[in-house]
Symmetry: C2
Subunit: 334 residues, 2 copies
């Protein structure tokens, strides 16, 4: 649906976390990104060649992907200039922002005049049902986090890759704009109408072979008061058989909420599992995924080992050390 | 905003619960309803005079309120005939259905031709913020249920009435179409975009006097897999100081989910309170509201007494026996 390869637009990202979308594409489909375009003051870097629009065009890029998210989502005038120029130079645009490209009169007009496409991947394109709670065939795994942006998508992506290599039946199920931009489909869950959230997750993870695993991309956190309702809908709509606990040990407070501290992994386990068992009494917590990006390799290994012993669950950083331990845990569930 | 008094349209309601909207208006603002209009097979009865459109017009009715909800929401042809006739006879229409009146071409055309208004109270008319989790002044009480439709709105309405009689500062905060139709404002929470659910509840319950209570209308249930995400957003966006547990003891299974049994009041308490304390560490469970509509008076009194002793919390059916016990519990919190 979205033409590749991309030029990744990083804008004036205030910090690397704001460029989560670009980072996801860079990490999981690097062949889809020929370069990056950054504005002054940009604090994110995908370690891709910095390119002008003309250079990217010459390198074969078809679509300018907005790889940076703003809380609340605003398309600034500084961005507009680049986006309009991109359309004029023959790029399509793709975005997961709340503010839709199509709702900006200048972008819509230039897109129409140039014949280029505006892809707003955040917009639901399906009339989702209300969840019916009926048990579905096949197995499902959901990553739940102590906070937002602790590596839930990466965990599911890494497990998906490992399972495919082993010849297991697995499908990554995207629930956010990054995952949708990477894989080409999914449910933009944070843009779904409240009453249909759980139903959209049921729709995304339908009946399947008994030995097939859906690896559902997590969103938010039960402990993040801004987004906990979205997480709850994932837990009940996804009716997971297996939960993976995700954590970033160096985070000083909940993302965007200075007054809120992160829960422990024990508290996450004891909160998420009883809620998951409402929809699937057989659900188990099967492993722990630690985001060690802010730790040295020694620190990271020590933290994973200590956590594995303390919690009695296989623990790894799937991005740094591979997802094998977590996939072993799923395989053991038969 | 919506002109009163109303004629309540009950349609072909398959059971009394489907007419929750009409029942709420009937119970809490009876002076706003001159009569009811029922189609063949209607299983609901508000004990109001059955009226034709002409009779209701003669009795002074200004607005035909659709007082019956359909799961998933469909405006049938049988309904259309009545709605179009109502517009032609000079009624406005008001509806809380998912399907909007304004989206029906025939209704929109007749409304325009006749100059009558179409009120879709389910549609959010505000750009709600993302929740910031900051502590607000004033106090808030939220009713949480073992299931949907167990009396959460009635509990808040009854407490609101009792508190006003006592001269306490209190405001009922509507979060659903019934409450909005009754009070004239509120947040249609189940129609809010996922990311903004908790923020809309913060917006609805802003800073207030230290001795003011918001009585927030509950929605769904943490144990109802179709709607639990909405409930979660209410708990975190509302940052309640006080929770009231709501239960209907004769319900054989979760509403609309034959495979799901209701939790106990103990399980509801132990699930909801830790989640509420994420947003407000001072939150307490202060009372229990039992919906005894399917019990005799003796059974109802015995059930409330047994529950009060077992749980150690003031217990009543606020609709049948008054809300004084629950309001006493709030007053005791200072």
């Amino acid at each position: 649906m979205i033409e590749t390869p991309y030029l990744l637009f990083l804008g004036d990202a205030p910090d690397p976390l704001a460029a989560k979308v670009a980072q996801g594409i860079r990490d999981w489909r690097p062949e889809n990104a020929v370069g990056q375009l950054r504005l002054e003051g940009c604090q994110a870097d995908m370690k891709l060649p910095d390119m002008t629009l003309a250079e990217a065009k010459a390198a074969g890029a078809k679509t300018l992907v907005i790889g940076v998210a703003n809380r609340g989502g605003v398309i600034s005038q500084a961005w507009k200039k680049v986006l309009i120029a991109a359309l004029e130079e023959g790029f399509d645009l793709a975005s997961g922002l709340h503010n839709l490209l199509r709702d900006e009169p200048d972008l819509a007009a230039v897109a129409e005049a140039t014949g280029q496409a505006l892809h707003d991947v955040r917009v639901p394109e399906v009339d989702y049902p209300i969840a019916n709670g009926e048990k579905r065939r096949g197995k499902r795994c959901l990553a739940v986090g102590t906070d937002c942006s602790v590596g839930k998508m990466y965990t599911a992506m890494a497990m998906d890759g490992d399972m495919r290599e082993r010849g297991m039946k697995a499908t990554f199920r995207a629930t956010g704009q990054t995952g949708i931009l990477i894989t080409g489909d999914g449910v933009p869950l944070d843009a779904v109408i409240a009453d249909f959230m759980a139903g959209s997750v049921e729709w995304l993870t339908p009946d399947n072979d008994d030995d097939h695993w859906d690896l559902i991309e997590g969103q938010g956190s039960l402990f993040h008061v801004s987004y906990s309702g979205v997480t709850m809908a994932l837990i009940h709509g996804g009716q997971p058989d297996a939960l993976i606990l995700c954590h970033e040990p160096t985070r000083p407070h909940m993302r965007g909420l200075p007054g809120y501290t992160l829960p422990t992994l024990e508290t996450l386990r004891d909160t998420a599992l009883p809620l998951a068992r409402i929809a699937n009494p057989a659900c188990e917590v099967v492993g722990i995924s630690v985001n060690t990006q802010n730790m040295s390799e020694d620190e990271a290994r020590a933290y994973c080992e200590e956590t594995e012993q303390r919690m009695g669950l296989p623990t790894t950083d799937p991005y740094r050390f591979g997802a094998a331990k977590l996939v072993d845990a799923l395989a053991a569930m038969g």
